[in-house]
Every structure is written in structure tokens, then in C-alpha cells.
Amino acid sequence: MKLDSKIPSGPVQQKWDKHRFETKLVNPANKRKYEILVVGTGLAGSSAAAALAELGYHVKVFCIQDSPRRAHSIAAQGGINAAKNYPNDGDSIYRLFYDTVKGGDFRAREANVYRLAQVANNIIDQCVAQGVPFAREYGGTLANRSFGGAQVSRTFYARGQTGQQLLLGAYSSLMRQVGKGSVKMFPRREMLELVVVDGAARGIVCRNLVTGDVESYSGHAVLLCTGGYGQVFYLSTNAIASNCSAAWRAHKHGALFANPCYTQIHPTCIPVSGDYQSKLTLMSESLRNDGRVWVPKKKGDSRSPDTIPEEERDYFLERKYPSFGNLVPRDVASRNAKQMIDEGRGVGDTGLSVYLDFGDAIKRLGESVVREKYGNLFDMYHHITDENPYKVPMRIYPAVHYTMGGLWVDYNLMTTIPGLFCLGEANFSDHGANRLGASALMQGLADGYFIIPYTLGGYLASSKLPKIDLGHAQFKAMETAVAKRAQELLSIKGKRTPGDFHRALGHIMWDKVGMARNKKGLEEALREIPKLREEFWKDVNVTGAGRELNQTLERAGRVADFLELGELMARDALHREESCGGHLREEHQTPDGEAKRDDANFAYVAAWEHKGDDAAHALHKEPLAFEEVHLTQRSYA
């Protein structure tokens, strides 16, 4: 298989314009003849569905939750980037592009990232026009703040609820189209199979989560906007229903999976407190604008933080990275926290956390200003830990947060299956080996509002897609496959719950495919995961029946797919004999513990092909060329 990224020729600044001009258009009157299936209603899915319906396409939209408004994007806190340069502090499209390529540790496609930076400003305008209540300065203009990995202030925000407000904006546009009849909404549906006819994606098979019925839907193209796979770690900041199943089914039908090992561990999360825990809660990185990260200089210092004098504290990020200080990128901040803890300088009951201290900020700005900026985050922290962060420093620890890997897509966001597109966190395209803060929201909305409306049209206008109906043999085959798999899960009647297996997998992933990886651990993971998967199919207990609301069955299906994806992640991490961004191989570090890339051998996208359940994955390489941003060792010192 030859990977063709379809990156347009010419200077990076002109690629997108040129491509839009060269892409065929669908005649306005013909748009309504096309039926588009959009799976997922996060920022990517909602924005795509609304934009396509506005153009006249017929759109069917699916999501797991009871309402499209509840997609995981709702939980994003900190903000969204754009190069408006309103603060006049030196920002530009080029700088946003540059920072994002560098932040991704030179493992993203320049052309995609440039396009992302180009459309970012339109996103802000669109969201403002929808009535998104972004934070404002006293003069009434839009406010900005800084985020990690940037020295300019380019992040737009709506308190600590930016994802919520952006999603509600996209959702309101989506519901407007539902009201007009151009979008039909199917909530509480889980896509469990892709239907490929004559080599093109032509439909999906879902389980109706209320009745348990297996339902088929046909269309001229399928857009997967199904989010990331961080839940493979069991504990993550993702929502409970976040999963990899839709992408994984597509992968098994021939869509390559790119860079599965690139996962982001977010530095500022509330630490784990016990084994009952079902998720980890993020404290937005925007907190690092005003909070100072420190640990005691002495090992095992168990004094309460207010009694530790200034000179006995180690503000380790400020010490090691004087120009970026507390605002270094996430991977750097996470690794340093881990290092402090490994040195025995962690704090709290478990010793598994570091301080994020607002004492100075409260002195400097006053409690009310701090409350206005971060009030809801402080409240959230207080609720969960029963500690008041206005009085005592927060305790934070890194947690799995985002997956940069995902389905391989070309410049048109199309996977290796014609007609199957992938948007948002579910694809691999823009963040390389590490995503900068406030750029996932930007990417989801860029893909949905401003990219897919053009590239999908190009595909439709240049493809012959004969009408097919739901009686087609391929639909029947996939319906049978979905029903059979549910029956199989229900009939095992073993002793362990799907949750038991999920936790066991999470332990392996966190210990061996987590923040720091090495050959020995990865090889162990590659032995342990298949073994666990085998046990799962022999010993899982799924109660209830198929034709009813059955949350145990839903969970079991998702865990079964994670048990396959987890193995591919370990394989990818093992093959990548370098460190880059969020992927740290302990064998490949600079003397001071920074990620050491090997550009001569690994400046490529690793795209894995499924060769059958009993065969090894095949690796395909898409070489990455850096024409604009020169390959350098990242430095934030």
C-alpha cells in the first residue's frame, strides 16, 4: 500500500488556497442528493454536521449520549488558540504554525498545521457570531491568555468552560439544522460496524442503546468524529463513554492507524486517591499562568506546605526553564513532575503529587481576581479533594489526557478507505508527538467548519457512488457480525466484570506504555495484553440481554476493542527507537532527561495496517519533510 498524503505543491502559505481552487465543487442543487453520515457530536462532529447541512447536504448524526450536547468536548476547560494578535504581542499565523510544529516535536505535517493556523481566526469569528460568551476586556474586546508552549497570549476562553461554550455553539447550529429538517439526529446509538461496498465507505451499523436493536444506515460518505482513545488507560481525564470502537472497526476494514503510541499525559490533574476511582479530573493548564509548581528541596519532607520556608522550596520548572518557567509544554512539565516524585520529593499522603501554589498570585492580584479567572476550577478541586485551594496549595499529578495518534488521514481528512473521513481527536493529523494546549478545540472546529465542507465536496464530485439500499449483502453481513459479537459476550458468563478487565489493562498501559517507556516494559506489555485479552474472552461476565438497555454489554464491547488497540500502542512504542514529544523512551534521552529524537531514522508517520486477527500488523511509513521549520532539538530553557 502506498500512502499518498495528497499535500498540495507550492509554498506552505498557498497550499490551502490552491487546493480549494483545484478541488471540484458539488453543484448546489446536487448537494441535497447526497446523504452524509456523521458519527460523533463533539466539536468536530457537530461543526461538520452543521456546516454540511447549511450547504444543503442531507446529514444523519449519531452519538452515544442522550443528547449531542453532552459529547466529551464539553469538558474542555482552558481555551482555544488563534493568531488574531489582538494583544499586539507579536503573534501571526506563521508563529502559531511554528509553535505548533515545534510543540509537536517535529512529528506533524507542516501543510496540515499551516492550514490549521490559517483558519483559526475564522473559528473565533464564527463562535462569537453564534453567541459564545468569550471572556472580554473592560473595553468590550475579546480577552486572551497564555498557554503552555507559547510566548504570546493567543488563547481565547470562556471562564474555565471553553469547551462547553464552543460545543454549545456548535450544538446550537446543529439543532437549528435539526429544526429545519436537514439534519436527522440519532442519539443513544453506538456505531459498531462500518459498511464498505465496492471499496468505499457506504454505511454504518449501530446498536440502539435503548432497545438493543441493530440498525443500519446508508450514505455516500461516513465521517468519524468519535474522539480519542485515552480510556485505554482506564484512568484518564476523558469521559466514561470515550472509546476507540468506531475507529477500531474502521481500522479492521482497512483504515490505517497512525502513531498509536503518541499519548499526552497532562501535568495538572487531581492526583489519584483510591482504587474506587472511575476517572481523573483535569485542572486546566491555564492555571500555570498564575500558579507556581514546586516540591520541597528535602526528600520526604512531610511538613505542611505553609510551614516550608521559601528557601527550602524547589520551583523546579522555573529553575530549569527560566524563559518558559511554569508554562513549558505539557510533556516537559509532566516528565519533570514524575522526576521529582521518583526522587522522593513528592507531596501529599501518597507522595504522588507536586504543589501548584496560588499563594503569590492571591497576594499580587487579590482573591477576587483569582476567583474570577479560575473560580470554577478552584471549586471543582475543592469538591473533589475537600481541600480549599485559596488556603492551601493544590496538589497535582500527571494523567492521561489526549491521544495524538488516530486514524491516518490525507490532507483531505480522508482515511485509506475512500469515503471514510476522520475529524477531530480521532485522526492523527495536526499535533505530531505532542499537542499544545488549546489546540484540540481549534483542530476539531477547523476540521468541521472549514475543511471538510471543501474536501468532502471534492470527493463526492469526483466519485461514482451508485445507490445502495439497506438490503445489500454487506449491510446484512455487518448486522450479523454485530449481533453475533453481542451474543458471544453475553454467553461467556465468566467471573470477572468488564470493569475488572478494564482496570487490569489500564495498569499495564500506565506502568509500561505510559509516561516513560522502555524496551523491557514494552515487551512485557506485548506479552501481557494478549494474555489478558484471551482471559477476557473466556472469563468476562456480561449480565442481561442484547435487546435492552445494557450498560455492561456496552462497556464489555469497548473494553474488548481497547484490549486490541493497547497491544498496537505497545508495538508502535517499541518500534519507535527514539523519544519525541509525549513518547519518551528511557533509552533515548539527553543527559538532562529531555526527549532525544532521531530524525535520520524516525521522521515519519507510522501507519499500521490490520492484516487479520491472527496476523501481525504491517507498518507503512509516511516520511515527514520540514521545509519551513528547521528540525532542532526543542528547547524551552
Binding site: 449520549q65 453532552r70 468590550g140 466484570t497
Partner: protein, 255 residues
């Protein structure tokens, strides 16, 4: 690690197989629960035990588990989202319940929220209300620069206060009339405060309120129970603003 003392509870939980089943209360034991566990994590523990015994676990909705998606929806000891102030069900921790307590767990009940299973109900009426007018009609591509319309800081803050609604439906569950007024008012307020919402201001108020009625929600008669349970502290003043919007739209609109 200093272990906090584990606690034991008796749960009385509403079980209902599907929309056609009459439903009943069932009793369960929740044992060895950490006070730092969340309420839903406590239910997870009970459910895992039920699955191990081969019994049907308690169905309940949740997703973000941090109070922002609006999916979780339990009435706990007679109060929508339970005893905490300004918290959704998922943000409640077991430290709020004394060791040995009996806890009663029921679904959000309202005519407009038909039951689905156990603690799960159908809140799609909220989506239909938004589809009737809870938006600004602006197609992708046609937006002016974000700073074209200045929004005074306090107005933006007020709009944000209203926009914080998570669409959970607790206000409906708590209202003696099962009115959705607080939910509707939050959206109408947000958009009528902002310049972007002006062109459709009157139609929006009329359409959304009409739709609320058509969906079988009750009328607002100023009980204020909604505000008391709202996890996002949406203020009753939004209802007053909405009433003004309604009068303005009915009497003196040019739209």
C-alpha cells in the same frame, strides 16, 4: 497513606425494567465505601458486585463525571442531584453521607421526561426546545471579525452565567409543575444579553416558550425550587428577564 475509615450504607433504588414496567424500589447494601469516593463511584461498586452475582446492575446515566456534561441525573433523598449545593450528582462525594445512612435514589421524574430504565430518563424534549430557537442563525463563513461588536465585560459575564446551564433537567425534576422555565430562560437570557442575539430576539423567546408548552412541561408559578437544585446556580432573575422578553416580543416587536 493514611486510610480514611470506610463506610457502609443501605440504598433504596428505583428499578424499572423499561418504559412499560411499573417499577419498584429495591434495597441494596453498599459496603466498604471510602468517603472520598463519588456518589456514582459508590454506585459503580454496587453494580460490579451485582454483575459478579449475575444480577442486572442499576442503569444510570453519566459521562464526564465532573459536573459539566449534564448527563447524570439522580434524585437523592428526595432532592435532584442530592444534598450538595451547586453540584451535579457526579460531583457528590460520599463524605456527604454519614456512615450507616439509608440513601434513597430515584430518577428525574416529569411528564416531559419519559422513563427509559431504572434511573435513566429521556430528556430529548430539551433538544427540541433548543431546535425551536435556541441559536443564532449564522451560517459558517459569514461571521464578521470577533471584535466587531464590543461586549461590555459585565454583560459578557452575565451572559456567561446564564450560558453555564448544563441541560441536566434538575430544575424540571424539582419543580412542582415540572416546568422547564429555568432551562429555557438561561438560553433566552444568554442570547438576549449579547449583541449577536438581537436580530432574532423576539422570535426566539416566543418559539422556545411555545415549544416548552408543547413538550408537556408545566408552567412556572415562581416556586423557586429550580434555582435551589441547579448545579450551575442559574438565577431566577433569568426567568424575570425571559418574562420581559416574552412581553416585549408579544407587544412591541417588529420582527
Amino acid at each position: 497513606m493514611t486510610e480514611k475509615a470506610k463506610r457502609n450504607y443501605t440504598l433504596k433504588v428505583w428499578r424499572q425494567k423499561d418504559a412499560h414496567d411499573a417499577g419498584r424500589m429495591a434495597e441494596y447494601r453498599a459496603e466498604g465505601i471510602s468517603p472520598d469516593a463519588s456518589f456514582l463511584e459508590m454506585l459503580d461498586i454496587v453494580n460490579e458486585q451485582l454483575v459478579r452475582k449475575g444480577e442486572d446492575p442499576i442503569a444510570f446515566d453519566s459521562d464526564c463525571r465532573e459536573g459539566i456534561c449534564g448527563m447524570c441525573s439522580c434524585v437523592i433523598d428526595g432532592r435532584a442531584h442530592g444534598p450538595g449545593a451547586a453540584t451535579a450528582t457526579c460531583q457528590l462525594h460520599m463524605r456527604a453521607f454519614e456512615d450507616g445512612a439509608t440513601i434513597v435514589v430515584e430518577p428525574f421524574r416529569a411528564r416531559a421526561f419519559p422513563p427509559v430504565k431504572d434511573l435513566v430518563v429521556d430528556r430529548s424534549a430539551f433538544d427540541r426546545i433548543i431546535a425551536s430557537g435556541g441559536f443564532v442563525s449564522v451560517n459558517v463563513g459569514s461571521a464578521p471579525d470577533g471584535n466587531t461588536h464590543l461586549v461590555p465585560h459585565p454583560v459578557a459575564e452575565k451572559a456567561m452565567d446564564a450560558a453555564a446551564c448544563i441541560g441536566c433537567g434538575a430544575c424540571v425534576a424539582a419543580c412542582p409543575n415540572a416546568s422547564a422555565m429555568l432551562f429555557v430562560a438561561a438560553k433566552i437570557s444568554q442570547l438576549s444579553l449579547l449583541p449577536q442575539g438581537q436580530p432574532e430576539r423576539a422570535a426566539r423567546a416566543l418559539n422556545m416558550l411555545k415549544r416548552m408548552e408543547d413538550e408537556d412541561f408545566g408552567n412556572c408559578s415562581n416556586h423557586g425550587e429550580c434555582e435551589a437544585v441547579c448545579p450551575k446556580e442559574i438565577k431566577l432573575s433569568n426567568i424575570a428577564r425571559t418574562n420581559r422578553e416574552f412581553i416585549r416580543a408579544s407587544v412591541c416587536s417588529d420582527e
